[in-house]
Symmetry: C2
Subunit: 438 residues, 2 copies
């Protein structure tokens, strides 16, 4: 099975765990059998591999997510990086070209495209396999998955099938309705449109060539920023007449708000948290190193991260976005491809962060114009290069770097260090990268 | 006026703002006219000085609070330090001897003793002055303040006066009753016992000499740990027949729980906090550097400090103590006489803290057996002595100290530094102090 997972943008609706660099699919919130936690992304990836160990998984995403994806899934996963945001049609066209030109998949093969963050069981991925096989038959150019509605939701678009068989022609599409209208649709046999579909690679490449002049993936990637924003639904789905829908009746949840996310949690507390016996329907997700104590609460979610602390009535939490927009959102924690960093202290003229490099990883070789930096090694072994001079480092070593000085760390084992940044203008944009050895 | 403020023990009922080294009287929660915040201690001290600029204020407290008191009130305030906990009679006897032998107050003068943390208006301190003047008259050995009850509280002991005049003989004392009994007491004209009283210094010194063999303050201080634990109520008040009570009808609140404390707050948010319009009767006290967002809550207090995060129904918050006892209470922030420190990061084998030294202050000259330390100066100017070698320091300087090495910092201006502690056994008890210059 070839599968493209669409890894969407930064969500503020799960603040403070999601932010401009960490989307909800990266939050480690699901307990595994070994007691550790995994993210939606990791959960979905494992589920796919369980159903089809040979599946070619490609994640279509933006540059900002590449580090976090590699950190969570390793280096082997395929990533089709959108150089900039151009809506779903260019993104899917780019991922399709990536499969053919980079992953060397035959354009005659089919691919299943779906969002990266559904909360589903393994039967969903079994169904995706069948969806791909249905597309292979060639009865239709596009085969959608239609999810059997469990309630008249106003959150989803609807697909009206021609009949009630498990695979049917599509009669028509309906935009997100109000609840009353949703009831009428359901009475007519409508299915939720979860944005899941399968097609032969050639089909989308042909569609793309009708709109865009390009030779292959590399060419499309190069001219990506010149492309018009257009959704896949508008450019392809709504215009296609040879289109089928396959029913799916298993669990399918969109964990887009704190209310729905906490419903999917196996336990009420993640992290250092304690609640008294008078708490009812309370969930605590604490990523900080200090404890959270909850007493006498009802229907409340508490979420604490180095970015901030949310305490909200669960239903009310769906209205979070405008409030988060008002907050001063300094990003205090970020996963990178090489490990992670956490801001420990912010002062006028200084910034102190903790850097964790995973074994075998390194930063970029870089310098800063407007700040000096000092590293203190907390633990681990590795090497630094500072202005071309290589040096072995371990616990207790101190490395000082004046502004302008080029520097890099390599981690031989997991390496933790405190980095003190000093200067009048400390900014993430003050960074020049160099090839190693220059 | 001579006044002894009893500064009581570590309260966990206002966790996470109070902890083993910070009692509730030190929490900066009351907004001043200039927009900054002051603590109960600072508020009470200012109120006393406003009513009587020449008042001799002595704070009777334990060793652990001395740093915080000096930090909040400066170096001039008198402090009678209990070398160990021996209940209120020895503490009051020691403070009384301190007034005579250290502050050189005549033993014929009177003193007013009261807790450090009542939430009151200036009229309360006017009343304390009158209380002292009443004790001067010599009509009684002990003059208590009786607070006119505003409701039948089960939290306080009661004083039954002989009559309803403003100063009356005491008929009897009653222990904390249940609410029904409290109603009966109040019907009989009972007053709350707020632990406030005045006496001639000689009176308590004589009482003390009946129980303890000592010559003066210094002798009493030296043998303090041999004293028997006994309360002032039991040793003195309940046995005294020449005893009066003076009524006080002004505001008097004991801000001992989050519920009562938040009632006294001028605003709903202290620190970086935001709440939506559906929050009702919600208070947020946030001492962290990241924002708190509250949505859809009712009757809730949220309190966040570097020690932890409390989210509680206000009434339920009075039951906090057993839950805080269950938490792993690492103290992450402390005020010291020389400034403050905050734990930024805890790892196996390392501890990273931020130290702020106030201008003109210094640490002790000390060493550690089991850990190396590294200082990185963030801002300010000062001097270090490391193994006898003096050196000027300023922003960006790095000082490394091996285990065993003696070290100290002097702050010429306010001085901020990052201290990284490295070692297998990091403990606050691993500290040897030395005279400077050795």
């Amino acid at each position: 099975m070839n599968i493209v997972l669409l890894s969407g943008g930064s969500g503020k609706r799960l603040w403070p765990l999601s932010n401009d660099v960490r989307s909800k699919q990266f939050i480690k919130i699901f307990k595994k059998e070994d007691g550790t936690y995994e993210s939606m992304l990791q959960r979905v990836y494992q589920q796919i591999k369980k159903v089809d160990a040979d599946a070619t998984v490609t994640i279509a995403t933006s540059k900002t997510q590449v580090s976090a994806i590699h950190n969570q899934l390793g280096e082997d996963v395929g990533i089709s990086v959108e150089p900039c945001r151009r809506d779903t049609f260019p993104a899917i066209a780019l991922a399709t070209a990536y499969l053919v030109d980079v992953q060397k998949v035959s354009p005659e093969e089919t691919v299943v495209v779906c969002p990266v963050d559904p909360y589903v069981n393994d039967d969903y991925f079994e169904a995706l396999k069948v969806l791909g096989e249905q597309a292979e038959k060639g009865e239709a150019n596009l085969v959608l998955m239609g999810i059997e509605p469990t309630y008249p939701s106003a959150k989803y678009g609807y697909i009206i099938p021609k009949d009630k068989s498990s695979v049917s022609k599509v009669s028509t599409f309906k935009e997100k309705p109000d609840e009353e209208t949703a009831k009428e649709y359901i009475a007519q046999g409508a299915l939720w449109n979860g944005g899941v579909f399968a097609y032969r690679l050639n089909y989308v490449l042909d569609k793309a060539r009708q709109l865009i002049d390009f030779t292959d993936y590399y060419d499309l990637f190069a001219k990506y920023d010149t492309l018009k924003k257009i959704s896949f639904d508008y450019a392809v789905v709504e215009r296609e007449t040879k289109i089928q829908v396959m029913r799916f009746a298993g669990q399918w949840k969109d964990l887009g708000t704190w209310n729905t996310l906490t419903e999917a949690m196996a336990e009420t507390c993640v992290g250092d948290a304690l609640m008294d016996e008078t708490c009812k329907n309370v969930h605590i997700i604490n990523e900080m190193s200090v404890p959270v104590l909850a007493m006498g609460l009802k229907d409340v979610v508490i979420s604490a991260s180095p970015d901030g602390i949310l305490v909200s009535d669960k239903l009310q939490s769906s209205r979070i976005k405008p409030f988060v927009d008002k907050l001063d959102n300094q990003i205090m924690f970020a996963e990178k491809s090489w490990g992670s960093y956490q801001v420990l202290d912010v002062e006028k003229g200084s910034l102190t962060i903790k850097v964790t490099l995973n074994a075998g990883h390194r930063m970029n070789y870089h310098s800063h114009k407007h700040r000096d930096e000092i590293w203190v090694v907390l633990s681990g072994k590795g090497r630094t290069i500072v202005d071309g001079m290589e040096q072995e480092i371990s616990t207790g070593d101190v490395i000082t770097m004046q502004a302008g000085c080029r520097h890099i760390v390599f981690a031989d084992t997991e390496l933790k260090l405190i980095e003190v940044q000093l200067g009048g203008e400390i900014s993430v944009y003050d960074k020049q990268k160099y090839p190693i050895g220059t």
